[in-house]
Symmetry: C2
Subunit: 419 residues, 2 copies
């Protein structure tokens, strides 16, 4: 197995050197050819998916899992459409920045280049296969895809279609590589191949992400949890704060940019909290409050210590009344997960201070935490969200799949005088 | 020990939150105060260094090692001066980029922020202690310093002076933390503290760097070797090529940006190689050539297979005649180390092609490989050179010690309509 994986990674590395040199037009043609093949091979992809769905039912997977796994003709068309949307995105490769002329006349500049080979390790959703492949390819990278065992047959069929698309344009199929096993031991071996693979992006539950992070010799970009805070400042507009709370907590509670904790300045708590409670009740949200919150809203649940810093991913929110701005910031520093924090205030000085003081990957003023998303922020499609600070921080678009090299052009400059 | 290290890392993390918020002026005052204390405590630093030098002599360290370890009044003044030079560098923190207004009116921008806590693991040279501390501090980071055992007393004395500088400005001494042991087991424990430490930069020999890379759960930015190539194209100016060869190979053969391999286009080999041989001989450089090189220069050594891709760090260079441009690029792809490659040619089309085709961290046209250096490239001081592509690639200045967060400012925007 180890030798097979090394062979596979070597081929991927060789393919990456070729894809890195294609023009934007050539890469866009590839994406269109891949989209075309997805549509052409719809039947065989659906057939493969039916096999996965059957095993999933036998294995009694939850209905939420089944829904993630299920492909329909519409979903496959959606995958093809997503590839066509990647065609529209600006190609970051080749972009020049930081030009300067040194006193000795050397011209120094930075040129954006692909990372090389990117491994994506993910779980049940088969659409990740084509989305991730499309984004890696547009940014000039080869990709190694290792999906979950539940979607094995679906993923294999999707990769076949994508590879047929590559080959129809005369491009090496190894540009998109499918790991033909979902064995954990094989994943461990793969994570050792830092000589061939430049980056690993795990996408899925915390268990998978921890496993990858702890066992990888290849750099990992990861996102564990989203403990997003809404801080309602003393100078907040109550109705705006209510809107941000409702949208942040209830529009899609199961996602990482949903709100998990509400911090309220004591001077506004008595007017804000009863309104908040009313709206949360109406929407079936349980508030777990600190003692001060309880003193204003006696009918709510008491928060336990572990409710703060917890990712409920459900219709539950922890609430705490803070004495002042600094206490709110200190709470976020202690319990936050570097995902997204929101302040709502009419005071622009306090807002500016919050922007400087909070170093989460997305810091928001008077906007819903639900906007922490590559598409919403204008990056185009998103390959993931990073909550660790190295390389990329926050929603990751195409640029996060590239790096910059130094280009130096001279006319014979040397560093030391030749004797 | 593990608990002690956790305590130390916790304090460093707490200090990092404070240093991140200082203004550029405040950080510059700190740097000046640190420089002042280095000069004030010169005597005690020299005394501590004498203890290290004595043990080093007892342990029969090489004279090169002894020279790296030795501090003199001038060298300490040099360290203080280097801190004052960091004062002059532009502070990257707070810089705004990529501003955009979304269709819904949200303003999205990116703000540069410190990484947090940076651990530097290094070997014999005590000046790294103050240089690294100064660069981390200027970029708003706390630093954990773990130097080599040879320089233990010197480093301890230097850190004391730097911390006295911090405290004279009322800043937490834990901003610059010294690991009070050079035990390997303790280093292993340190490398597990990814919850507190954001980045590890190992500086030293390949053994140390491999050890850190293989054992760290914290992201590592590293540089293994510099296998720098000079490709003399068929359209090269012979005398310029000779100058670049002499400077690249002989001006300081022991450093990572020195040339290790010479590739020569066959159409120019017969005129270039004899001139090159003459100049190399004059300077005591041994050429180890491929068969074709040998056929032109019969008196040189034959290259063994392992001479290509080898970092001699000495007055030796491997030489190969290539049939064409593509063979040169393929050779670099196979044997290069992503450090620095140089083409010399008068043909601007070939030069442009080389710039695009080679994805080493520094790609140079008609300039000496010895310019692959943060100072020479205009980054100001340099904390290291990265030959891996994640986060930073090539010489690393202050910007490489920072990341960017997303800042979103709205006036109450929400993502979903509230029912």
């Amino acid at each position: 197995m180890q030798d097979d994986l090394i062979q596979l990674a070597k081929k991927s590395r060789a393919a990456s050197n070729k894809i890195a040199r294609l023009t934007t037009g050539e890469k866009n043609n590839l994406l269109s050819a891949m989209a075309e093949q997805l549509l052409k091979q719809k039947e065989s992809i659906l057939k493969a998916n039916a096999v996965d769905i059957e095993s999933a039912k036998e294995n009694k997977l939850s209905s939420a899992m089944l829904d993630r796994l299920l492909l329909t003709p519409e979903r496959i068309s959606g995958m093809a459409k997503a590839l066509e949307e990647i065609v529209q995105l600006q190609d970051p490769v080749g972009e020049i920045s930081d030009e300067r002329i040194r006193p000795n006349g050397l011209k120094v500049e930075m040129m954006r280049i692909p990372l090389g080979v990117i491994a994506i390790i993910y779980e049940a959703r088969p659409n990740v296969t084509s989305d991730a492949a499309g984004l890696c390819l547009k940014s000039g990278n080869a990709v190694i895809l290792r999906g979950g065992s539940e979607a094995f047959n679906s993923n294999k069929a999707i990769v076949k279609a994508l590879q047929d698309g590559l080959e129809s344009c005369g491009v090496d199929a190894a540009t998109i590589t499918f790991v033909p096993t979902t064995d954990r031991q094989a994943m461990l071996e793969l994570l050792k191949l830092d000589y061939y693979i430049d980056l690993v992006i795990p996408r899925g539950g915390e268990g998978l992400i921890h496993f990858v992070a702890e066992n990888s010799r290849i750099p990992v970009i990861k996102h564990y949890k989203g403990i997003c805070h809404l801080y309602v400042d003393k100078d907040a507009d109550i109705e705006m704060a209510i809107k941000l709370l409702i949208d942040g907590k209830t529009s899609r509670p199961g996602v990482c940019n949903a709100l998990e904790t509400l911090l309220v300045h004591k001077e506004i708590a008595k007017t804000f909290l009863p309104r908040a409670n009313e709206e949360m009740k109406k929407r079936g949200v349980e508030i777990r409050g600190c003692e001060k919150t309880k003193s204003i809203l006696p009918d709510i649940t008491s928060a336990k210590k572990e409710d703060f810093g917890f990712e409920f991913l459900d219709l539950i929110i922890a609430a705490k009344v803070v004495d002042n701005y600094d206490e709110a910031v200190a709470h976020i520093e202690e319990f936050g997960s570097n995902h997204t924090e929101v302040i709502t205030t009419k005071n622009s000085e306090t807002a500016q201070k919050f922007i400087r003081d909070i170093n989460s990957s997305s810091v928001m003023v008077n906007a819903s935490s639900r906007f922490a998303d590559g598409g919403e922020m204008g990056l185009g499609a998103e390959i993931g969200i990073s909550t660790t600070k190295l390389h990329a921080y926050g929603p990751m678009g195409l640029e996060a799949l590239t790096t910059r090299k130094f280009v130096v052009v001279g006319d014979g400059q040397i560093r030391h005088k030749i004797e």
